[in-house]
């Protein structure tokens, strides 16, 4: 395993574009801290974001993992091009001739996916701890380390998403096309959802649940569904909402085990299919 990781990280780290993207990713992640300094005014109120409780434990776990996952596209590009390059350079063939088995090849790529996910999770964990201790109103141990399932969801989300990218890289063999395909897939999933929900089922409330249930099982949606948007959970916004709308909207923000299983299942399917494609394909 150490050998495979050392092989893969030599390939990635010596590539200037991948190196820049990796560094950019972690630099951008640390910029989340800068949100603390954002100030804006609504009418006569001056609002400083950091004072609105976004860095409060345990809410910060939810908020930071959500924001951090927006940057995952940087690593996605690294992963897709890492795979597509092996095809364009002909090095996939050479690696196999040199004595890497197809299983080892997929395993080594998956190790990269796993390492990226672990590194991101650790980074977000440490950063959130630091930010939290600087700004949070509650510092009791029990509160600090509650709601850590958001970190697990973050890890699973990244693993599944990167596995999907890896799969597309192997399937399509060209980085640009693979990324295009990723985008098309995303749009396709949504179009399908709207088609089923509003065209086929007519959009009436009786069938509303079926469309909504179905989309939870789609790969992209299952990944983005893991961590729900945290903004409407913020007390400041809730206050505004209740002031304007009068009624409080009940929404479930928590991480569900079923959602984690769906995303993990997709990751598993993607890796296995990648292996199957590689095995079947004549290089």
């Amino acid at each position: 395993m150490k050998r495979l990781l050392s092989i893969e990280f030599q390939k990635i780290w010596k590539n200037k574009a991948s190196r820049v993207l990796l560094l950019a990713y972690f630099v951008l992640l640390s910029f989340i801290a800068l949100i603390a300094s954002i100030k804006f005014s609504i009418g006569t109120f001056e609002i400083r974001i950091a004072d609105q409780g976004i860095f409060n434990f345990p809410y910060i776990w939810h908020f930071n993992t959500y924001i951090a996952s927006l940057f995952k596209i940087f690593l996605a590009i690294v992963i897709v091009s890492m795979m597509a390059n092996e095809y364009t350079y002909g090095t996939l063939k050479q690696n196999l001739i040199d004595g890497l088995s197809k299983k080892e090849f997929i395993l080594s790529k998956f190790l990269v996916v796993g390492t990226f996910a672990v590194a991101s999770t650790l980074f977000v964990f440490v950063m959130s701890l630091i930010l939290g201790y600087s700004f949070s109103s509650y510092n009791e141990m029990g509160i600090v380390f509650s709601d850590l399932e958001y970190l697990l969801a973050f890890f699973v989300k990244l693993t599944a998403f990167f596995s999907f990218c890896l799969f597309l890289g192997i399937l399509v063999k060209r980085s640009a096309f693979a990324l295009g395909f990723l985008f098309i897939w995303f749009i396709g999933e949504n179009i399908f959802y709207w088609l089923v929900k509003f065209v086929i089922l007519g959009g009436d409330d009786k069938h509303k649940n079926f469309g909504d249930t179905m989309i939870r099982y789609f790969p992209m949606e299952s990944m983005s569904n893991l961590i729900k948007e945290p903004f409407t959970r913020l007390s400041a916004i809730k206050t505004i909402e209740t002031t304007i709308g009068g009624a409080k909207v009940a929404k479930d923000y928590s991480v569900h085990f079923s959602e984690i299983s769906i995303a993990l299942l997709w990751a598993f399917i993607f890796i296995l299919t990648s292996y199957y494609i590689l095995k079947k394909r004549d290089l």
Binding site: Y89, K93, I97, G99, L283
Partner: protein, 298 residues
């Protein structure tokens, strides 16, 4: 002698209709230098691709080192380059070779030694993409040699090179062959194969036409070139000889192909008895090239 690779009844059908390799069987023994000959599209690279684990076979079998280890472990004892040199263009020669060492699980200490062998030591810290084709090809050979392989497989190592490049590659192959490494060389450069190889396998359209030593392939087909004043009488006399298979005329000479070998002096005395005096008598062998063209003729 130890068998390195044994191929039995290998078949490959691409996309359900293109039969690229048809029932090919041969054995590679330790210490010999083998040439695989065949026109473009005869299935050479496909056959090599199959034994190197990058092309899936349709049927048949192959076995490395007497079946003692599975293919991917066996490949760690094999050095191979296929068609064109494949390396990471953004890494230097040294980094590329170090990566191959990690894959093969050998120590990094061989890198400089092999770079020296192919004459690239001074350029080891240059990026692969700055290399000329000849240098890339030599780097590929260095890379294939990193694990001191038991067999070196080279698929068209001189393809696309200039005369100097071809010469350099040939010299390197000679050195390696002289060290006792088994070599399997696929090439169209027949004089190359004739000079370097001890054994040949000839393929055409996926079928194996010949397998054996280069010596036998050339030896089996000796023929006579004769010339005499009375050509018609000469032909007549030859037709009556029991060991002669066919007679052809070319540029005023009579070419005589044999069913079985006869010595030049016996043929001469036979014709003399028939009252024919020859003014030209040469016993010749086809070169490998002529023999190859003959074999692969449609």
């Amino acid at each position: 002698m130890e068998t390195i690779l044994k191929i039995t009844n290998l078949n490959k059908i691409f996309n359900k209709h293109l039969h690229a390799v048809k029932n090919v069987s041969f054995e590679i023994k330790k210490g010999n230098v083998y040439g695989i000959l065949g026109p473009n599209g005869s299935g050479k690279s496909t056959t090599l691709g199959i034994v190197l684990n990058v092309v899936n076979k349709t049927s048949g079998d192959f076995e490395w080192f007497g079946g003692k280890s599975n293919t991917h472990n066996a490949l760690k004892k094999v050095g191979a380059i296929i068609e064109r040199p494949n390396f990471y263009p953004y890494m230097t020669a040294k980094e590329n070779l170090e990566l191959v060492c990690k894959i093969k699980g050998t120590s990094l200490s061989k890198v400089d030694e092999k770079l020296e062998l192919v004459g690239l030591l001074e350029r080891k810290n240059d990026k692969f993409r700055t290399y000329s084709l000849g240098m890339k090809q030599r780097l590929a050979i260095a890379s294939a040699l990193l694990n001191d392989p038991e067999i070196l497989i080279l698929d068209e190592p001189t393809n696309g090179l200039d005369p100097q490049g071809i010469r350099q590659i040939r010299d390197i192959i000679r050195i390696i062959a002289s060290q006792g490494t088994t070599i399997l060389l696929a090439s169209h450069l027949l004089d190359e194969v004739e000079k370097v190889c001890s054994h040949v396998v000839v393929l055409r359209k996926g079928e194996m036409l010949y397998q054996g030593s280069v010596h036998d392939m050339i030896e089996n087909n000796s023929f006579f070139e004769l010339k005499s004043d009375d050509k018609e009488q000469l032909k007549l006399a030859l037709q009556n000889h029991p060991s002669i298979e066919k007679i052809e005329e070319e540029e005023g000479k009579v070419l005589v192909y044999l069913k079985q070998d006869i010595a030049a002096k016996d043929l001469n005395s036979y014709l003399f008895e028939q009252k024919i005096v020859l003014e030209h008598l040469v016993k010749r062998k086809n070169s490998l090239e002529e023999q190859f063209l003959e074999l692969t003729k449609n």
